[in-house]
């Protein structure tokens, strides 16, 4: 059964839709990469999934329910790491973790156990009483990552996770993602770092001008572009060129 089902979703900010008739699914334990140029509709797609934007047409189901049908179940099913960290200036790191745990109904003992592991993994144990104003961009990102992994949901939605993180941070994040996958969680990750996406994603969704241009495993994509030895970078460039040709023709 799919964890996330996006079915024929059209939506955007104004009347002119940014995403058009978008359909894809993410299965249990799958890591799916959402790839596209700036303005292809990645962020808009994510906003629709997390429910800050509502689709004009189509349905988005998480664990079988739409946001309207069961808000609580829908929201408990995912955690989200935004591209730009969104923190509360007035809360310390410890309080960010505590607030997240409270909101998702995690008991104190579980909070303590999980946050100890995460703090160690991301080397933030000594910064528990710090306020975000004293954090670098990478540290702020780490706070978001820790809050997301604390929740232990069925689906992680991660927007451009590698920008601003140091190499150790990137490795820790990839390790965490790997571990959660093994435990059966699914991950939707949007990124521009194609080599990492190629290496780690089970499937790739190529988004272009608001539509799904191609999706599948690397083998599927190579086949559909008829480029048997291509890297994801090659495919990506081929896709953008192909569309340019079509527009010129």
């Amino acid at each position: 059964m799919s964890v996330l089902e996006v079915q024929h979703v059209t939506g955007g900010y104004t009347r002119k839709p940014v995403i058009k008739d978008l359909s894809f699914t993410i299965g249990k334990g799958e890591l799916v990469g959402l790839i596209g140029l700036n303005g292809a509709g990645k962020s808009t797609t994510i906003k629709h999934i997390i429910g800050t934007m509502l689709p004009k047409e189509g349905d988005i189901r998480l664990n079988g329910v739409t946001l309207k049908e069961d808000t609580d179940k829908y929201r408990t099913a995912f955690s989200y790491i935004p591209e730009t960290p969104v923190l509360y200036d007035e809360l310390t790191l410890r309080e960010h973790l505590e607030l997240t745990a409270m909101a998702y109904g995690i008991d104190k003992a579980t909070l303590d156990a999980r946050s100890e592991v995460l703090l160690k993994e991301f080397r933030m144990e000594k910064r528990l009483n710090w306020f975000p104003s004293h954090f670098s961009k990478g540290m702020r990102q780490k706070v978001m990552i820790m809050c997301a992994f604390l929740v232990n949901p069925s689906l992680y939605i991660i927007d451009e996770p590698f920008v601003g993180l140091d190499p150790l941070g990137i490795q820790s994040l990839l390790d965490q993602m790997d571990e959660k996958k093994k435990e059966g969680a699914s991950i939707l990750m949007s990124t521009h770092i194609l080599s990492t996406a190629e290496k780690h994603c089970d499937r790739i969704i190529l988004l272009h001008e608001g539509r799904v241009r191609a999706q599948g495993t690397m083998a599927d994509l190579r086949q559909s572009f008829a480029m048997p030895y291509a890297t994801l970078d090659d495919l990506y460039i081929a896709m953008t060129k192909e569309r340019d040709h079509e527009e010129l023709a």
Partner: protein, 393 residues
Amino acid sequence: MKNLRDVWSSRFMHYIGEVQKYMQFIFTGHIAIVLVFLIGAGGYQYSEWLKVVQTDFPAEVLIAVIIGILLAFSRPTTLLREPDQVYLLPLESKMSLYFSKALAWTFWSQVWIVAIVYIVSIPLLKAVTELTTVEIWTIFLLTIVLKYLSVRGEFSYRYSERGQMVWVDRFIRAVIFAAAIYMGLHAQLLLAVIAIVISVVYMIVFSKKSVGEPVPYEHFVKLEQNRMMSFYRFANYFTDVPHLHGSIRRRSWMDWLYKFVPYGKENAQKYLVFRTFIRTDDHFYLWVRLTAISAIIAAFVDIPVVTWIVAGALSFATTIQLKQALLSSGEFRMDMLYPLPDHARQLAVKQIVRLAMISQAIVVGLCAMTQPMFYIAFIIVLVISELTSKVSK
């Protein structure tokens, strides 16, 4: 933008517009009235004191030190902005034109402070010294010249040293200027001129040193940001400054209060809103300010009806402003995604506002203790707050 002169004028117009916008609020606010009374009372006290002041009062030293210190504070207003470090870089060699405009404004915008202080002290000088009117006004001119030198001096110092140890520079200038004024006040004009020459030399040293140095954009931009920030923060006492993100303070002495919100899913929003209220200066000082006014009126005004009306009005103002401030939600916040009931935030805000208003009622009630029926003020604060909270959106 055609040249740097235009850059300066467009910046300057924008800056003046910004200052004017907030000045309106400052001068129509309630604190302005308090200031007028304070100045009036201070002036009266001063004139009474002049009638009895002894002739051995050390007016010269006092005035020299005060004017010297005031002169030394000559922070340049450059109106530089962060992008300038990139976009104005090719014009580096022509920046002196821009800076001469900036320094002219710095001088005229600051000189009136020393001028007023000196003019206010003239009656004192007449009372305790034997200076003639001409001498007194000559020293006034000396002060103005020193201010000009100080503006140039501080700018050159900051330019050549990138603002490092500016306090040492200020101290040195303050000593030289104070010495010059002191000599002047003792009618030792020759010595005063020597002090001026020393300060000119001091200025030239750093001015020479800064020749060929790259423009210290980083330092000047930071200086500008700090200056605008302190202006906005000041204006924020009178009105709501939109782009002022309320500064945050831990206030750890109030940490014990958070224990009243126990760990649990149903308390998540309350956990957040409580800390937002206590730690955001805007919200917290709003409560402190209005509670203090209400309490002072309750303590010192002997007409119960007046204290009740004030307590009611301020209870209304505190409740409605706090509620709106805590509920405002322009930007995306993570708690918008939390699996909590839709009204959780509203409920939390309502409860925290209630807590704040019970505290206000207690403070005002205690301050009204000496009056008959003091408990009425307490009840009025609570009832008005509850009604406001119910009726307002």
